[in-house]
């Protein structure tokens, strides 16, 4: 399977297989005007299988979402057909408004205007806990 090479845009590579749709939703790519290609289950030497997302426009990505959902992905910025930048996300210290707390006893369940905030509890394990009730994300 081949996809036209991109002239100006972003390639999000090394996404764990099966996570591309999730990233598509959380990065709110459905709201974009530009072409978006999702490649699923692409053979990879490093990962066995991986997903890839290609955008034919350089947009501002939500790095917190990338760091949380696909901390090992690589983001390639392409201009005039050349890869000009290669970046990797970092695990964000805080996730604000990305995920919601699932604990039915959490204060966020009755106070809708409170922002859902998660803090990085363990960097090695990449675990996040709700700021308010400390439930695991």
């Amino acid at each position: 399977m081949t996809i036209d090479s991109i002239k100006n845009g972003i390639v999000i590579d090394h996404i764990p297989a099966g996570k591309a749709m999730l990233l598509y939703q959380y990065l709110k790519l459905d709201g974009l005007e530009c072409s978006v290609a999702l490649l699923k289950n692409v053979p990879s030497k490093k990962m066995g299988r991986k997903d890839i997302i290609k955008l034919d426009e350089v947009i501002d990505l939500n790095w917190d979402v990338l760091g949380y959902l696909a901390p090992d992905c690589t983001v390639n910025i392409i201009r005039e057909g050349e890869e000009v930048e290669k970046k990797r996300p970092e695990l964000p210290e805080r996730l604000v408004g990305v995920i919601a707390c699932k604990n039915p006893r959490c204060i966020t369940t009755i106070e809708q205007e409170l922002p859902h905030i998660f803090k990085l509890a363990n960097r090695q394990k990449g675990t996040y806990r709700c700021l308010y009730c400390e439930s695991k994300a």
Binding site: R105, C106, I107, T109, E113, L131, C133
Partner: protein, 305 residues
């Protein structure tokens, strides 16, 4: 603005200070009888807890202060849909310090983030109850004289018991404490508590058998094993008696063992144990008032009130 939401908001040095103040109050109550004259504590109990509320009220009265507030959500503005943040803003106009009990986890933190007065978490759902932990720490310190090197047994429901998690967290900051975790398989401590002990390289052992570890213990912290926590009735009936403390079970215990319980108890400690000098759960309840007095003084002082 300084608050107390989680026991880890306090350093061990600050906990030592609070214990010292509480001991001084016990020795010399008259010296503290007017310390909070003209001050008001708002007791904001969105969920009823007579025991905790009485302890806070007694603490404030014995400091010469006053108490305002409500004792369940039905009487409060939250019943009309007011947010916790708005409630604490409004209360800040009338009171100098607040103690908040809430059925939702994290509510006191939300209040603290918006408050102009110090907020004390008086229990939020199954999450935190730092003044109970301070009470436990004061009790251990008064009964044993130190924390370092103690072998502390926790018995009963270690899965859902927030007082257990919080006390283990607090004690994990002292030297050479050995933890003995005694519970049925179904009610073992959650993995995050074990991870904490492992990460800190602390010694702990898990067992289902109270009798076998009784002789090692310096402290035995009892909690209730509730029927509804079990998957089946058979298991409950088979196990319930092994987690009930009786004079018989105490025969192999150390002379200077101390038995703690956050109260209320149901049947997990036989009434016959109450007369044993090693039982100190009623002294523990009294300590709760003194450590709350020390805490109110500290937070008011830091707030410059």
């Amino acid at each position: 603005m300084r608050h107390l939401i989680d026991i880890l908001d306090l350093t061990t040095a600050e906990i030592d200070e609070l214990i010292e103040t509480a001991n001084d109050i016990i020795q010399n109550p008259a010296a503290y009888a007017h310390k909070c004259e003209g001050k008001k504590l708002a007791a904001l109990f969105f969920e009823p807890s007579t025991r905790t509320r009485l302890s806070f009220e007694a603490a404030m009265y014995e400091l010469g202060g006053h108490v305002i507030g409500f004792s369940d959500a039905g009487n409060s503005s939250s019943a009309k849909g007011e947010s916790v943040a708005d409630t604490i803003k409004m209360i800040g106009c009338y009171a100098d310090i607040a103690a908040m009990r809430h059925f939702k986890e994290g509510a006191p933190l939300v209040a603290a983030m918006r408050s102009d007065i110090p907020v004390i978490n008086a229990g939020d759902g199954g999450h935190n109850h730092p003044t109970q932990t301070l009470t436990d720490l004061l009790t251990i310190k008064r009964e044993k004289g130190h924390f370092d090197g103690l072998t502390v047994g926790f018995c009963g429901d270690l899965k859902f018991g927030r007082t257990v998690h919080s006390l283990i967290t607090a004690l994990s900051r002292y030297e050479n404490i050995k933890f003995v975790l005694i519970s049925p398989q179904e009610l073992k401590v959650p993995s995050y508590v074990k991870d904490l002990l492992k990460d800190k390289g602390l010694t702990y052992k898990q067992t289902t058998d109270l009798d076998s570890v009784m002789p090692e213990l310096d402290i035995l912290y009892m909690t209730r094993v509730q029927r509804e926590r079990f998957f089946n009735e058979e298991e409950y009936l088979r196990l319930k008696d092994s987690y009930i403390l009786t004079p018989e079970k105490l025969k192999t215990a150390k002379e200077d063992l101390r038995i703690l319980h956050p109260l209320p108890r149901v049947n997990e400690i036989a009434v016959a144990v109450d007369d044993d000098p090693r039982a100190c759960y009623f002294r523990q309840a009294l300590n709760g008032k003194f450590i709350r007095m020390a805490l109110i003084l500290k937070l008011l002082e830091e707030a410059g009130k």
